[in-house]
Symmetry: C2
DNA sequence: CGCATATATTTTGCACACAAAATGATAAGA
DNA sequence: TCTTATCATTTTGTGTGCAAAATATATGCG
């Protein structure tokens, strides 16, 4: 259309060609949004039997896997905002699943740990996960492949700087 | 361990084997959660230039693609809750991007339509999308493949009943 | 016509998600 | 030590996401 080869060399204006507006079904962002919400809707009824919410469950997974953590450690492991995490941990504490206490060595840090009740919830959760994967009704291989593609997307999308560390969990800090 | 072949034939208890608790990085649900939030964090700064939020943008995409819709039509197209959508549409109306009016034929329905300002936002959005895809820095093919896998996941995960209709947009209803 | 039932939308209440401001506590330097 | 910069966490405010209750309008039926 444009007689010039393309519109680049004009003033300091943007040099990126516009994109014909994609339909909803051609939006990766919508596919992510929909899939994430779909998973939530499927999973939450199972979590309800344990009495925890979806993000609360994720916190427990980290604590079960790695033991007590600082608030900031949990936030970075879960790629979760501290402003969301802080009140959430209070709710987990109110449910009697975790404790929060200032660390003696560094009073700035708050250490989150499982209570006996929080520890014992793990076995019930493992039972529930068996039921859930059965309910999902998707070959494990497919689940793993999708998971890996998502992880690759997260680690590669966006500005190339500071992409080396793929969200590693910090070592025990207590 | 268990001398019996497996624990199935005992009372009416669950017959599903428990799952060894997976680490955080082996959770598909976390991968979805993290990827969706990651996409949001990347995309929102671009949307901010247009003055809309992420879900608000999705509503506009549907309206640009298909024209005026009822509130319920939008909700099912976006797999979004009516309770979220209703106040959101008010905010879009407050921004002068859409109108909401009761339909004459069926006063129960509220029709949402683009204002001239809403229509004109489309061109600026197409420019922004060009910049965003450049910023994402991922081959288009990869994006499409991930998108299709996510769509397949949504359409196949969960109870097998009522999975035929893959979230189709309703035909014009006015 | 008048009422029970069904459909469409809004409201309410709780839990995030995130930005920005506020607190609390430690460390670094003059 | 006092001061200032830094770090960790919490608080505040707005916008969803979703369940459940409340409204509003339609439709069917006697």
């Amino acid at each position: 259309m444009n007689t010039r080869r393309n519109a680049r060399n004009r003033r300091n204006q943007t040099t990126v060609a516009p994109v014909e507006m994609p339909g909803l079904d051609n939006h990766l962002c919508f596919a992510l949004y929909a899939a994430s919400n779909h998973m939530t809707r499927l999973f939450v009824p199972f979590l309800k039997k344990l009495g925890v919410t979806y993000p609360q469950y994720l916190v427990l997974v980290v604590l079960w896997e790695r033991g007590a953590r600082g608030v900031g450690d949990l936030a970075s492991a879960l790629q979760m905002d501290l402003g969301s995490l802080s009140p959430m941990l209070k709710r987990l504490e109110a449910k009697g699943l975790v404790t929060r206490r200032r660390q003696a060595e560094d009073e700035r840090r708050v250490l989150v740990d499982l209570t006996p009740k929080g520890v014992s919830l793990r076995k019930r959760t493992e039972q529930m996960l068996g039921e859930f994967y059965c309910f999902l009704n998707i070959p494990l291989g497919e689940l793993f492949e999708l998971k890996d593609r998502l992880r690759h997307f997260v680690s590669s999308a966006g500005p190339k700087e500071a992409k080396a560390a793929p969200v590693k969990l910090p070592e025990p800090a207590f």
